[in-house]
């Protein structure tokens, strides 16, 4: 089946009225959760997952994916107008976006964010289309040692890129691995650390943990601060960027796209990291780095493009290897499994309709977002004007219902609240939760791959270094872990922008 034939099949599926409707609902909800501070794509997808049980698998995946990349579009609006990032990937957009708004250039800032997102999102989808099938072919050659090494590399990259001391990030990853061990040991059939709680025999659910660490803890931190939020009152005009704006931004958009796409592909990378890296790169290549933070359009165009391109890239390890690159992908993995699909190298061969349908829907979704976002900015601003003291009980309620309705279990709600408290303490003591989440997701797969590899090699751990692909992946991990011994590398990491890595 050639590429164009595959795309044709994809468009035939994505253009079906039902699928178009779910794509539209997905991007609309995504934009809304992107706009609302405190409710990110992870919480929104978790919350809406049970509602997809009655629709076809392809419609479900189209809608859930739409929420993810839709949130990246919506996040920029709050960053620019309120100086509060709607979701973590738009943190860096505040720096120049809000300054542009204060200078009366909210329109071009919002416009270039939307156009940059569209260009990057579209190129990201094209990259996904081109790279995923050959990678899936290659992944068929992967055995347990290669999978193990790849997951170790993903965890190492995330800990390397996390802000703060590396020991904290590694500690978080180790704790995440432990949490991933709770429940049934899939190889032996025995249960671990369940304390006779039936709900724990299937393991600690990712959704309650993520909602607790990112949703509940965020609300706890927000309520103890002043809840006054001032929206910069300005007439938003000239949403279409001028030729000069385009001239200033186009290179930043393209660089952001490339950075976002490739960081999105890496397990452990993702939208948040790519937006920070893109900002750092723009500052570095600029002739006037001192102007960054004062309202330069490249500071909006680059990161906003990067976080959208990353969403396309993040689908590659999920669809080709069955490995989620971040928490959102992990929930999508769960959603696909609930719908009877097994993401991995065989997906593109066994279910080409679903694979290509989902991918082409992202292209359509990007068009919808562009059409949707610019005219609806006024509506999003109105939603932002809802005072936080009224908004936060609703956010909490969504989280509570979301955690409960997954398995109709009060234990999962309790787990979410406990992790809300833990997440609050993590933030107070400056521990990043992202490595924990990735390790929790990868934990069971990593354990299976490790134990199978050791069984294969009769207990010889050198199996990870004697197989070429595995050896390369392991060497990259060793290199990253050994950074404290290499002074110039340590210096480079120290200059890495500080920010929460949580997608």
């Amino acid at each position: 089946m050639d590429f164009f034939h595959s795309m044709l099949i994809g468009f035939q599926i994505a253009l079906q009225p039902g699928n178009l409707f779910f794509c539209f609902i997905g991007v609309l909800i995504g934009t809304l959760v992107g706009v609302l501070p405190g409710l990110g794509p992870v919480a929104a997808i978790s919350l809406l997952l049970p509602t997809t049980f009655h629709v076809t698998p392809v419609s479900a995946i189209i809608m859930l994916a739409g929420i993810y990349y839709g949130a990246m579009y919506g996040g920029s609006t709050t960053s620019i107008l309120v100086n509060i990032p709607g979701e973590a990937a738009s943190v860096v957009t505040c720096l120049d976006g809000y300054k542009m708004a204060r200078q009366g250039r909210a329109g071009p800032a919002l416009g270039i964010a939307a156009f940059g997102s569209f260009i990057a999102g579209t190129i990201g989808v094209i990259g996904l289309m081109l790279i995923a099938p050959p990678l899936a072919e290659m992944a068929l050659k992967f055995g347990p040692p290669e999978y193990f090494s790849l997951m170790i590399m993903g965890l190492t990259i995330l800990t390397f890129l996390a802000s703060g001391p590396m020991w904290k990030a590694l500690l978080m990853a180790a704790f995440g691995l432990f949490l991933g061990c709770v429940g049934m040991d899939t190889l032996m059939g025995a249960t671990r650390f369940t304390f006779d709680i039936v709900e724990l025999s299937d393991g600690i659910g990712l959704v309650p943990v993520v909602m607790g660490l990112f949703g509940i803890s965020e609300v706890l931190l927000n309520v103890e601060q002043s809840m006054e939020r001032s929206i910069f009152e300005t007439k938003i005009r000239n949403l279409l960027p001028t030729l000069k704006d385009w001239g200033d931004s186009i290179a930043a958009i393209l660089r952001g796209t490339v950075i976002g796409f490739f960081l999105g592909v890496l397990p452990g990378g993702g939208a948040v990291i790519s937006s920070f890296v893109s900002y750092a790169v723009e500052k570095k290549v600029s002739k006037h780095p001192e102007k960054f933070g004062t309202g330069v359009i490249q500071g909006v165009a680059g990161p906003e493009s990067a976080n959208n391109a990353a969403t396309g890239g993040a689908f590659i390890p999920l669809l080709t290897l069955g490995i989620p690159a971040n928490a959102v992908m992990a929930i999508l993995l769960g959603a696909m499994m609930i719908h009877g699909m097994q993401p991995g190298p065989m997906l593109v061969k066994e279910q080409p309709g679903l694979f290509w349908g989902a991918i082409t829907s992202m292209y359509l979704g990007n068009v919808m977002l562009l059409v949707l976002n610019l005219p609806l900015i006024g509506l999003w601003v109105k939603i932002l004007k809802v005072p936080y003291p009224i908004l936060f009980p609703l956010i909490l309620l969504f989280c509570l219902i979301g955690a409960y309705s997954l398995n109709n279990s009060i234990v999962e709600v309790l787990i979410m609240v406990i992790f809300g408290l833990i997440g609050y303490l993590f933030k107070k003591f400056e521990y990043e939760a992202a490595p924990l989440i990735l390790a929790l997701v990868l934990g069971p797969m990593l354990e299976t791959a490790l134990r199978r590899s050791l069984l294969l090699s009769a207990g010889d751990p050198m199996i990870f270094l004697t197989r070429p692909i595995s050896a390369v992946l392991m060497l990259i991990s060793f290199f990253l872990l050994a950074y404290p011994l290499v002074p110039w590398l340590r210096k480079k990491r120290a200059t890495f922008p500080k920010g929460e890595v949580e997608d």
């Binding site: 691995l177 009980p393 109709n408 709600v413």
Partner: protein, 154 residues
């Protein structure tokens, strides 16, 4: 030399957590390298936590010697508000089954609207009842989620 710092405290807690996990993994059976058992990976994870927290302890102690002391985590913040929210969340978990979704949700929303940053009573009452009706309508009636019912059937 400054007083004890935040990282020293958190690393010490993690050190204990790591040891507890490692010790608790042993009864599940560690096995051997050629036949790892159920407790193998949790044990490794626990040991890794212990190791990294030890590195953290050393790192933060060196920083303490350079004058890095305790950084207040609650300065300028109204921590009572987050405590109220947290307690309310635990109360919701406890009361959801006995009271049922509708009543529990109305009380939850009403209490938070009034207790954290007090809203006027009409806003509290309308907000609480309206949200409970809306959420019940969307999730129970429309999306057929099976939310807990109290003794009165809703």
């Amino acid at each position: 030399m400054s007083g004890i710092n935040n990282d020293q405290v958190s690393a010490a807690v993690w050190f204990i957590v790591g040891l507890v996990i490692s010790i608790a993994s042993v009864p599940y059976g560690l096995g051997t390298l050629d036949s790892p058992q159920t407790g193998f990976l949790p044990f490794l994870a626990g040991m890794a936590i212990t190791l990294f927290s030890f590195i953290g302890l050393v790192h933060s102690t060196l920083k303490q010697k350079k004058g890095v002391g305790w950084k207040p985590t609650m300065q300028g913040l109204v921590w009572k508000k987050s405590l109220i929210v947290l307690v309310t969340l635990f109360a919701y978990v406890l009361l959801l089954k006995p009271l049922g979704f509708f009543l529990c949700t109305a009380l939850f929303i009403g209490f938070l609207l009034r207790a954290v940053q007090p809203q006027r009573w009409p806003v509290v009452v309308v907000g609480a009842i309206g949200t409970a009706i809306g959420a019940y309508g969307i999730f129970e009636v429309w999306l057929k989620a099976q939310l807990p019912k109290g003794p009165w059937g809703f």
